[in-house]
């Protein structure tokens, strides 16, 4: 099996149609279990109280917000280098999902920050980076919508994604340099180290993480199928205009 089989839109739609009925319930199931477990059956943190429950939404959303951009970068590179049409459409389909995850991370973060830090917003490196990431998503989506020819749009947005990634990385370090952080470090991989994530939160968080990854994949698959159909539709409509 190679990704080139799925450069054929028909084959891609068929396969997506077989995967989705499994993937979507699985994603919802993981997410539901994780969130219900996290919300109802976890103890309060000794320092953060009940607000720790926000973590089960905040951390997965933040993680996928970054990974979605990474996936878009890989998909754009595959498109630019090897002209894999479905890949370009997958990048396009991922953008609104990534944008939403970024928004969720920012909103839940603000609501978490208010009781913990005494402020909704702080110009902390992580927070600022996410705000900048939000701008990148907006620019990317706006460029897709502005360019009419689909292949030109795919090329230009792919290029923007690659160049933007470099600058997003630069911004990340610039922002770190610019202000010291208030945001705590990630604790999920600190097993056996100082100040690890409490085991009581570990499993519900894992469930939420898996759930959000699966949900992202499902949404991207659906979105890609949508984009393929929209392109076919555009071709048919163009032909109709020509004949009329």
């Amino acid at each position: 099996m190679s990704i080139w089989e799925y450069a054929n839109p028909k084959k891609f739609i068929e396969t997506a149609g077989r995967i989705l009925p499994v993937l979507l319930p699985l994603a919802m199931g993981f997410l539901l279990i994780g969130l219900v477990w996290g919300f109802f059956f976890t103890p309060e943190d000794y320092k953060q109280g009940a607000t720790v429950k926000i973590m089960f939404l905040h951390v997965p959303a933040a993680m996928m917000a970054i990974n979605a951009w990474g996936m878009m970068l890989v998909a754009s590179l595959i498109w630019i280098i090897r002209r894999h049409h479905v890949s370009a459409l997958a990048a396009r389909a991922a953008a609104p999902v990534g944008l939403t995850f970024t928004l969720i991370a920012l909103v839940t973060g603000a609501l978490w920050g208010q009781p913990m830090w005494g402020t909704w917003w702080e110009w902390d490196p992580r927070l600022t980076s996410f705000l900048i990431l939000l701008l990148f998503y907006l620019g990317y989506i706006a460029l897709w919508q502005a360019v009419e020819n689909p292949d030109t749009a795919a090329d230009l947005t792919g290029l923007l994604c690659v160049v933007g990634s470099v600058f997003a990385l630069l911004s990340r370090y610039a922002v770190k340099f610019w202000n010291q952080g208030l945001h705590q470090d990630s604790t999920i991989l600190k097993v056996g180290e100082k100040d690890p994530l409490d085991p009581a939160y570990y499993w519900p968080l894992i469930f939420c993480l898996i759930g959000i990854v699966l949900l992202f994949l499902a949404l991207v698959l659906i979105g890609t199928v949508t984009e393929i159909r929209l392109r076919r539709l555009a071709v048919i409509e163009a032909r109709e205009r020509q004949e009329a």
Binding site: K53, L57, T100, T108, L215, L233, I236
Partner: protein, 64 residues
């Protein structure tokens, strides 16, 4: 319902806003999917109808 204490607003609002946004993006993706599918089916039906009509017309023309 778990005891959330003084942080009830923060936690509930987070879950509310987070789930609402998730729901919104799922709804948007599904809505676009349905709309694209319906539009494509309609367009292909038009195409098929026209093709059939075209053949028909040609065949008739040939006979006459």
């Amino acid at each position: 319902m778990p005891e959330l204490g003084k942080y009830a607003f923060a936690v509930l609002a987070s879950y509310g806003a987070g789930l609402a946004l998730l729901g919104a993006v799922v709804a948007l993706v599904v809505w676009r999917f349905r709309r694209a599918k319906a539009a494509l089916i309609a367009a292909e039906a038009r195409l098929a109808a026209r093709a059939a009509q075209g053949h028909h017309g040609q065949a008739n023309g040939g006979r006459a």
